[in-house]
């Protein structure tokens, strides 16, 4: 058959066609709209209905948001302003009462923190940004900044709670003591013995010795700033403190738990499984009640164990259990060949984990990790139930004020917007990180 067509099939091109712009109807806004919004009768109908619904919602909400009540000092004044402006609906005045936000936004940020000391939380959160920079944007800031990040966990609580400077230094000294015990014993005997004794030495220092040393040093050299008790903490300052500490501590703890769960060491494995399953099986609110009430029963009488510290520990443990499972998912997604590749080159267990396995497992789990982070941050609002004045707790307190009795949407709306800004930033950061770490085909 091919023989008979040979003459007509033969073809040689003599001039090459120049590149031509695509037809106007397929590019630009018109082309975009045609392709995405009106690509068929069904899509056109859906588009029109959607636009109508959006318009209807905006018509309802925008005038409410734009109500001119920023100057009001009480709910009744708001109503007067709105009546004067003529925005009266069938259920009374309609319009937001923004005066409450203008009057109380500082309180929503700082709780009952002494107002002459506001510079301390502000400074500590600015420094937090500096400390986070080398962690979040390692390729864009000088790497020496990481030393500041290492020091920040000691500066941060000192700035917020105040007190003698020897306190945070003593806590830091515990890490140094533990590290040197580990180094010296680890070299002399085995790493495991060094690790166990090092941790023990640090714990003994923190629990039994550091108190006396701090007292002694403070009486000799009373360097410090004014103390602020935990009951004065509140607002977004409290939420962010709990959220950031829980996030920062739960990731490493979660990694250790995930590795422990996959360990060949029977006891380690079952301790990790037991911990993870127990914590995941219990609601966070239960753990918070344990932190606020039960924990004191188990403590020796007279010990004063700060309520925020107790909450921090509980939220961290809670987040760590979830984190462990997210990281385990990442570990499970790695092909066995990666372990074998690392093993065959002679890397030991920790080197293989740190250099080969974890960078990939964590990269795979970024969406899950960030989801957990966002969940933890939002869960910090639960502390209002045990009496801590986070933004939600404060909103109840504000409503108890006779001036603002009856205000609901404005406060919750404001709190929601601030939470949204934080959570959305985290979500955008995770997408940025995923793009940055993509190394496959380009």
């Amino acid at each position: 058959m091919s023989d008979t067509h040979a003459n007509t099939v033969a073809y040689v091109r003599e001039t090459m066609l120049p590149q031509v712009a695509p037809p106007a109807s397929s590019t630009g806004p018109v082309g975009w709209a045609r392709e995405n919004l009106f690509s068929g009768w069904f899509n056109t109908v859906v588009t029109v209905i959607s636009l109508a619904i959006i318009a209807w919602i905006l018509i309802g909400i925008v005038p409410w948001i734009l109500s001119p009540t920023w100057g009001a000092t009480s709910l009744s004044e708001c109503r007067e302003i709105l009546t004067a402006a003529g925005s009266v609906g069938e259920h009374g005045t309609s319009g937001a009462c923004w005066g409450v936000i203008r009057e109380r936004w500082v309180q929503l940020l700082f709780g009952f923190y002494p107002s002459d000391l506001y510079w301390r939380p502000i400074l500590s959160f600015v420094l937090m940004g500096v400390a986070l920079a080398p962690v979040l944007f390692a390729d864009r800031v000088p790497s020496q900044l990481i030393w500041f990040s290492a020091a920040f966990p000691f500066i941060f609580p000192w700035l917020l709670w105040g007190g003698t400077i020897w306190g945070p230094l003593a806590v830091a000294a515990g890490f140094v003591i533990g590290y040197y015990v580990f180094r010296i014993l680890g070299a002399a005997t085995s790493n495991l013995i060094g690790l166990v004794v090092g941790v023990l030495a640090a714990v003994i220092w923190w629990l039994f010795l550091s108190g006396y040393v701090v007292d002694a040093l403070a009486s000799v050299l009373p360097l410090g700033i004014e103390e602020v008790p935990s009951r004065n903490f509140g607002g977004f300052m409290l939420s962010i403190t709990i959220g950031v500490v829980a996030i920062a501590c739960s990731l490493p703890l979660g990694i250790v738990l995930a590795l422990g769960r996959q360990s060949d060491l029977m006891i380690v494995k079952y301790i990790c499984i037991g911990f993870i399953e127990f914590i995941r099986g219990v609601p966070l609110i239960t753990l918070l009640f344990v932190a606020s009430t039960l924990l004191n029963i188990f403590m020796p009488p007279g010990t004063n164990f700060d309520i925020i510290l107790r909450v921090l520990i509980m939220v961290t443990l809670f987040a760590a259990a979830y984190m462990a499972e997210v990281v385990r998912g990442g570990l499970a997604a790695l092909p066995k060949g990666q372990y074998e590749g690392a093993d065959s080159l002679g890397l030991d267990y920790w080197q293989a984990q740190r250099l080969v396995i974890m960078p990939q497992a964590l990269k795979i789990s970024i969406p899950g990790i960030v989801s957990t982070f966002i969940g933890v941050f939002k869960d910090t609002t639960l502390v209002s139930i045990i009496g801590l004045l986070d933004p939600l707790g404060l909103s109840n307190a504000i409503r108890a004020d006779s001036n603002w009795n009856g205000i609901v949407w404005e406060l919750y709306g404001f709190i929601a917007v601030v939470f949204f800004i934080f959570c959305f930033s985290m979500s955008r950061y995770s997408m940025y990180l995923e793009r940055k770490l993509r190394t496959g085909h380009k």
Binding site: E340, L347, G440
Partner: protein, 263 residues
């Protein structure tokens, strides 16, 4: 008859087998659960030998070479590599692994690191070589496998053949005395098989002790000094390549060769 691995004449001047023992496996047994994968393996590898291990799938050939660097644990018998016996002592295992290079069917490069970082990772962390020196060594071996210009790309951007050559270079950067190849060409397209085999032949010409699990009978014929045939977890036959291919003794070997070379 099987295709040849290379058309050129192989330089045999450095392919010397000494009487120094590199690997000694005696009476080694391994089970997966209750399944007896390797049965009474006895094998002595001398320095400079190029051994090809052939056999049907499931015959235990991969498991055998994976036991040599303890990716699989044997339950009975002895394996001595370079004078160090494989036991549960982790220090011994890491020492042997850093002396024995290995290439895998699926390359097992680290996708989050560049080619150069793949090659310098183990020298820097295991051998404690300074970074500059490790990079120089890595570039040397990347030139040897003919892909120095890809050094700053990621493995995902390379073809399969290039990835396998990087994997070989990565192993060589540890200056191993023994190289294990676990079906290095089985996942590759025909034209890429040749470039990987070329690299392996060059390695053999330099006198490297090699154990290859492969179905490339041309490579076995041209490069190996010994071919081992395994079936059902046992060494069924071993011989010099000429004898092995032209005059197989065991009926199982004859059947295998007729199937693999018949078409």
């Amino acid at each position: 008859m099987s295709e040849l691995a290379t058309d050129r004449e192989i330089d045999r001047s450095k392919m010397q087998v000494s009487d120094e023992v590199a690997i000694e496996i005696s009476n080694m047994n391994k089970w997966y659960g209750t399944f007896h994968v390797l049965r009474d393996i006895d094998l002595t590898v001398y320095r400079g030998e190029r051994i090809v291990i052939a056999g049907p799938s499931g015959s235990g050939k991969s498991t055998l070479i994976r036991c040599i660097n303890r990716l699989e644990e044997h339950q009975k018998g002895r394996i001595v590599v370079d004078g160090t016996e494989l036991s549960s002592d982790l220090k011994n295992i890491d020492k042997i692994r850093s002396e024995v290079g290995m290439c895998f069917q699926h390359f097992n490069l680290f996708p989050h690191l560049t080619i150069l970082e793949n090659c310098t990772l183990a020298p820097i962390w295991v051998r404690k070589v300074p970074r500059k020196e490790a990079e120089a060594t890595a570039m040397h071996f990347l030139e040897k496998v003919k892909i120095p210009d890809q050094a700053h790309k990621y493995p995902g951007m390379l073809s399969g053949g290039q990835q396998q050559r990087v994997a070989i270079a990565r192993s060589l950067c540890m200056k191993p005395r023994i190289m294990l190849f676990d079906e290095p060409t089985s996942a590759l397209d025909p034209e890429m098989i040749k470039e990987v085999l070329d690299t392996m032949i060059e390695l053999a010409e330099e006198g490297m002790t090699m154990l290859c699990v492969t179905h490339e009978m041309g490579f076995a014929r041209q490069v190996a000094n010994r071919v081992i045939f395994m079936d059902q977890g046992q060494i069924v036959e071993q011989n010099e390549p000429e004898e092995f291919f032209n005059n197989p003794k065991s009926p199982r070997t004859q059947l295998f060769l007729s199937q693999i070379l018949g078409h």
